[in-house]
Symmetry: C2
Subunit: 304 residues, 2 copies
């Protein structure tokens, strides 16, 4: 392994902090770039050697491995869910050992679903005695991979935190530590929730949006729409372009919630279709006015 070429964190007026990033895709790469831009030392690990090499040109100063984990203040798991769990299982013993010595990092995952990763991670953290917090940075683009990672990807974005079941004081301490350590990412707002609520809501706000966008372009009419589309079409289909293996993993791990949301949308769409087929303009107007009213009330809620 290439762990040997890591230098000790340089010292000076202030000691730069060190973050370890597992998985240099869009999310992990953006964490790496954001922390690097804030003067942190960034270590990383990725299954793809070329990606790791590319990241080492400007962003990453060394490989995150058994030896270097000890020196990290924060470890960000940004691989696919199953790979994050596998990494944690491999390193839980070591993380527990350094934590007992009083120097362990805070470990967070950043997966788009929280039950699958958090259930296992909470159990490992409790068993081995290290600090773990589930997170979901609500940011992304329709592009994936380190090449699209940006230091400002999370600036102003909402962050969802999913802490383990703890006493009030331990919980506050854990969240305070997270706020401090996550400061370089620049999130705009923070919510705290449970894995169950997170997955139920995310099925609607994110996973359903990707399914609908991806399904939308499958109409045969899509092939002849040249020059006939305005902003509504562009917005509806923006996230049709997606990382299929990643989303398939996230969606299958949240299958029940997402299936329920798809059913809900199909039922709603069916009502408009029935009104159209019956030529019932009053009914259609009421259906549209109802959606308009809901949308305005949601927008009002989000402003307050």
């Amino acid at each position: 392994m290439r762990g040997g070429d890591i230098q000790p964190a340089p010292t000076g007026h202030s000691i730069p902090r060190r973050v370890g990033v597992v998985g240099l895709g869009l999310i992990g790469g953006s964490f790496a770039r954001a922390y690097r831009a804030h003067g942190w030392d960034v270590l990383a690990w990725d299954t793809d050697a070329d990606t790791l090499d590319a990241a080492r040109v400007e962003t990453v100063s060394g490989v995150l491995d058994q030896a270097s984990i000890t020196s990290c203040d924060l470890i960000v798991l940004a691989a696919y869910p199953a790979a994050c769990i596998a990494w944690l299982e491999d390193h839980a013993g070591l993380l527990g050992k350094i934590s007992r010595e009083g120097a362990g990092p805070l470990v967070i995952d950043t997966a788009g679903i929280k039950r699958q990763v958090c259930e296992r991670a909470f159990a490992l953290a409790e068993q081995h005695g290290f600090a773990f917090l589930g997170t979901h940075p609500m940011a992304g683009t329709e592009h994936s991979g380190f090449a699209h990672a940006r230091a400002d990807l999370f600036v102003g974005a909402p962050l969802v935190l999913v802490p383990p079941a703890l006493g009030d004081i331990e919980r506050l301490q854990l969240l305070d530590r997270a706020y401090m350590l996550l400061e370089p990412a620049g999130f705009g707002s923070v919510s705290v929730t449970t894995p169950e609520e997170h997955d139920a809501v995310i099925a609607f706000t994110s996973q359903l949006a990707h399914v609908v966008s991806n399904a939308y372009v499958k109409s045969p009419t899509a092939r002849v729409h040249h020059g006939f589309s305005a902003g509504s079409y562009r917005d509806l289909t923006r996230v049709a372009h997606l990382n299929a293996p990643m989303w398939a993993e996230l969606m299958c791990a949240n299958g029940e919630n997402l299936s329920r949301e798809i059913t809900c949308l199909i039922d709603a769409l069916d009502a408009y279709r029935e009104a159209l087929d019956a030529g019932d303009r009053d009914r259609l107007r009421m259906l549209l006015a109802d959606g308009d009213r809901i949308k305005r009330s949601l927008d009002d809620d989000n402003r307050h």
Copy 2:
């Protein structure tokens, strides 16, 4: 009526041209503001006296009526489809008379569906002998009404033109005249098509987008999504906020096309749901990859 206070178009180095706008909503109001900003004299008519008064403060110099129609170079019908047809029926005789005298305006409609308006308008234009062209400016916002009208609403936007069946030379002359007269709006690109093709494609690119967005927010989960939503949710639900009476009229006049597109989307969504319910991650990945591939190929087509 208030037509009496219209002044003759001022003269000088160049004679300002004059446009008449029927219906001062978002679209008509934006035409009025764009032409005014380009030095044209703008006349208008609206069923709502308050709107007309508001528009006369800065944009509209007089009321478009029987007397003032004669002096217009261009008349833009921007009311709801049925109201546009009613206006044309009321004024077809006069338009024919001034056209025979060699001074008639080009009349365009701007409705979001083209068969209903164009069929009647083409017949009236042929019968009475005036120049009519169907248009659909592919621009808008989720807000409606004159208050949201903007002089730059159409700048860079696609414009769809729907000419009547004419000989090649007459058709070219009509389109050339339209290009010249529409120049102040600043459209970015122009397509020419038939009413039938327009309505089939618009059911997919615009009407379906509005139905899906409007249906999306009807999930009970929408009420608890506070702080959990990123760009994909915002984009999917942007046009949920809409003018229900207007869209109900446009959609019902294009019911067969739109119903077919809704069916197509429901069938596509059902395939993802089946894969989720079966826990079939490979199948789900293939469905997602297929949408991704189609989206990328559509984006490539639109770049060339």
